[in-house]
């Protein structure tokens, strides 16, 4: 009876040898299991991780399971698909005679799994298998069932490693897209939170999700981000940083135009402010835009802590970001051009320290800054086991010995280390990079023109910042252009209950709190 049933559904199409194994979009699945298997074997030739598992449903109908080893939970596969199908008795589907009905019967009654969908194109089969789904093909039917049995080893949700806060949630994004969306969903239980899925990368076929809150988002920004992502021509997207480079407006600006974070609470806060977030499969870093200059200098504690302390910390951060940008250049300018501006006793101390130094202050500053950048880069790259050794060599040997040997002066070491520490107070890593880069031209200008040069450099930076926009939002908003409402949360943060009006630059339409 089974055979009759199956024979009626058999297709008469003949397998044709093709030179190109890549299926076209419209190629339909063959109903002959043997032909299908040959076709798929051809597509997945030399792919040792693709598993073809043939078995028979209820001992009568031949079926084929295709999946990728390591992306599928084998135990669950056995429990939800293999066991119920193999052990099902003849009588349980005796009534189903029609082609599609048998498939839907399988789907409805036999596969004990939540995520099931039916597909009929070779192209789709290929894609679903590659995504990590299990494909069930039954002999005699030109439709297959894709079942999601996710498995394999993934990194679990851990504490954020690059963005630490004293107060605030401790979870961070992982490499798995679905985990990341779930982390956001856990914080916003609203159907207005939308996850718009896309696939990018000609070869990598990376999954992406554009997240926004319906009604709060800036529609223009959303439209712009979508169109730019669709216009991207990339073979592979390995990290969200690649998307960032593809779609940002000013790729040569030292200032970043995206928030890059691994903290779900930051993303949620950004979404609530009307920003649009971009999640990328395989990357724990989520992008969010549009961002402003001031947004990059804010950390979670600015809102989680009480208002007085939050403002104090924010002031410290502003001060230290200025130090990170300006201290070495001011030191060079003052010591080589404007000695009269240094208090007499301090001047004598600096003069004494500089007495034996063979280099001009400018060269000294550049040597030390470059050394520091090198140390920092080494610190990122070096294996954990040798970390101690490098910090000792870097900190003690280079610092102290260089001073003792009279190659650099002690004040310069203080200036450079203070600058280094200051650059770490900037909460967003990508933003602190801007300050690190801009320090060097400012040092050069200071060494050539003194304070005049520093002023020119700062002016140039200011002009650039005024011109810069992140998806249409002025980078210096709410300072330039001035928005009195926005100023409640720029230099200072007003008490939390006064922040219920959203800055209209980002989310123009809705009232309501942007912060939580």
């Amino acid at each position: 009876m089974f055979k009759k049933l199956l024979a009626s559904g058999k297709s008469m199409s003949v397998y044709v040898e093709r030179s190109n194994p890549t299926p076209s979009d419209s190629e339909q699945q063959s109903s002959s299991l043997a032909e299908l298997e040959i076709r798929l074997q051809e597509i997945f030739s030399d792919s040792s991780d693709v598993v073809f598992r043939t078995f028979s449903i209820g001992g009568e109908v031949d079926a084929l399971l295709i999946y990728i080893e390591g992306l599928v939970d084998e135990k669950q596969l056995k429990e939800t698909i293999l066991s119920p199908l193999m052990s099902s008795s003849d009588s349980s589907f005796s009534t189903t005679t029609d082609n599609t009905e048998f498939i839907s019967f399988l789907q409805k009654s036999l596969i004990a799994n939540g995520h099931v969908k039916r597909i009929s194109r070779i192209h789709e089969i290929e894609q679903e298998v590659l995504k990590g789904l299990v494909l069930l093909c039954v002999d005699g039917y030109s439709e297959s069932i894709a079942v999601s049995v996710p498995g394999g080893s993934v990194r679990s949700v851990e504490q954020p490693s690059t963005e630490n806060t004293v107060r605030g949630s401790r979870d961070s994004f992982t490499e798995i897209l679905s985990t990341n969306t779930s982390l956001i969903r856990r914080k916003i239980r609203s159907s207005r939170l939308k996850f718009d899925a896309l696939t990018v990368g000609e070869i990598s076929r990376t999954g992406m999700v554009i997240a926004y809150i319906k009604g709060l988002e800036n529609e223009r920004v959303l439209r712009e981000i979508k169109s730019r992502i669709e216009a991207m021509q990339a073979e592979a997207i390995l990290e969200s940083g690649i998307i960032e480079q593809f779609i940002e407006e000013k790729p040569f600006s030292p200032f970043p135009q995206f928030l890059v974070t691994e903290r779900p609470d930051y993303v949620v806060s950004a979404l609530l402010q009307g920003q649009v977030a971009i999640l990328t499969d395989g990357s724990p870093f989520v992008l969010s835009a549009p961002m402003t200059f001031w947004g990059f200098l804010q950390a979670g504690e600015d809102y989680y802590e009480r208002v007085v302390y939050a403002n104090l910390i924010r002031m410290v951060r502003f001060l230290f970001s200025m130090i990170a940008l300006l201290l070495p250049s001011l030191y060079v300018a003052l010591t080589t051009f404007h000695q009269q501006m240094i208090p007499t006793n301090l001047l004598l101390s600096i003069a004494a320290a500089r007495e034996g130094v063979p280099f001009p202050a400018l060269v000294e500053a550049l040597i030390m800054e470059v050394t520091f950048e090198g140390l920092r880069e080494a610190g990122v790259r070096l294996p954990k086991q040798v970390g101690q050794a490098v910090s000792i060599v870097g900190g003690l040997v280079v610092g102290q010995a260089a001073v003792q040997a009279g190659i650099v002066s002690a004040p310069m070491v203080i200036v450079v280390s203070l600058t280094g520490i200051a650059s770490f107070t900037i909460p967003r890593y990508n933003f602190s990079l801007a300050f690190r880069i801009l320090r060097f031209p400012l040092i050069l200008l200071a060494g050539v023109f003194g304070l005049y040069g520093v002023s020119i450099g700062l002016l140039a930076i200011l002009v650039h910042l005024c011109e810069l926009k992140s998806f249409g939002v002025p980078y210096l908003f709410p300072m330039a252009p001035v928005s009195l409402k926005g100023l409640k949360d720029a230099l200072f943060r007003a008490p939390i209950w006064t922040l219920y009006l959203r800055p209209h630059s980002v989310g123009p339409r809705s009232k309501g709190t942007g912060k939580n």
Binding site: I350, A361, V448, G450
Partner: protein, 398 residues
Amino acid sequence: MKTAIRLLWVLFIVPLLGGCWDRVEMNDIAFFMATALDRTDKGELKVSIQIPISAGAGGGEGGKTSTGGILGKTYYVVSSTGFNIHDAERKTEMKMSRHFFKGHRRVVIIGEKFARSGIKDILDYYSRDPGSRLRTYLIVAKGGEAAKLLLNDHPLERIPTEDVRELERSGTGTSVTFRDFLMTQANEGIVPVMGAIELLSSTDSPEEEKNLIQLNSLSSTAVFKDYRLVGYLNETETRSMKWINNKLDRTIVAEKLLRAGGNVGAVLHNTSSRIVTAISAGKVIVRIELNGTGVLNEANVSMDMNDPKTVSAIERELEEAIAGQALRTVKKAQAEWKADIFGIGLKLHRFQPNAWKKVRGDWDRAFSDAEVSVKASIKLRRTGIVTRSLTQDRTEAK
């Protein structure tokens, strides 16, 4: 894009148009800490400059790299003579490998001989030279050569003249900067003064002077008339002058009290003065009121301090003493120099402009003929934490 790049080049060139390149490494600078100006016997100007030896003077390195210089000193002095300051500096430049830097000079000391011969020329230089600060203190080396003060080691300060600067700032003596001097000089009805400094043995025993440390003492005030030093006020007179000029903030008063039979010491705060001027029958009448509030800190008198009358009695005697000192100071200025160091003419000019016009032409004479009266008013608010004087006999109190 092309035009943008061209514009960018133009922008790069713009900063160079200033043509001003004054970059100097700190290692190539000689910081002037103090200058001493003297008149040599030949009548030439001798300019001495005190320069810190950076390796020794900064001292930040804890002696590792700073050996205190080859001389074991923290400073050295360079002197040259010339017919004016630039002539001398030109000669100094030949002896010095480093750039001059005058921005940190805080003290200019003028030798007595030079001060008496007139300092008009140097004032022009210091007000004209953009490298010199007008806030530099101007001091006369009383009774000697200014260069000697530069060579006197100070036990605490690494740069000896740093001590002079601190003294000037402390407010105990007369402190006058170039700016003050020039402004006073430009005014009619006031005569400029400046602090005068002398070297004194630190222990007040001159016979041992050779072995002992000598310290700068800002004890007197030099009075200048027509850019020439005419005389000095001693320390008490200096205080009286500052009090009358309302430049005194705080002072220690120690007086022998004849009527009370002993001596007292008090610290006065909130010292102030009021000068009332008038002209009567062609004669200038000046009434000076001195006020002071303070604390009695030392009372070597056999009196009961609990009794308010005792305190008033002490106050009265102090008032008399202070008024007497002030009057003597004014009389000295009137009689010896005919120099209005108190700015009484200025007061007259401001409050009685019509009267001023009459005496303006010969103010020095009018000032010396002026009728001056001084009234002091001292309030002692507290008498310390002991009620009776320790020297007072127990039985006597009862």
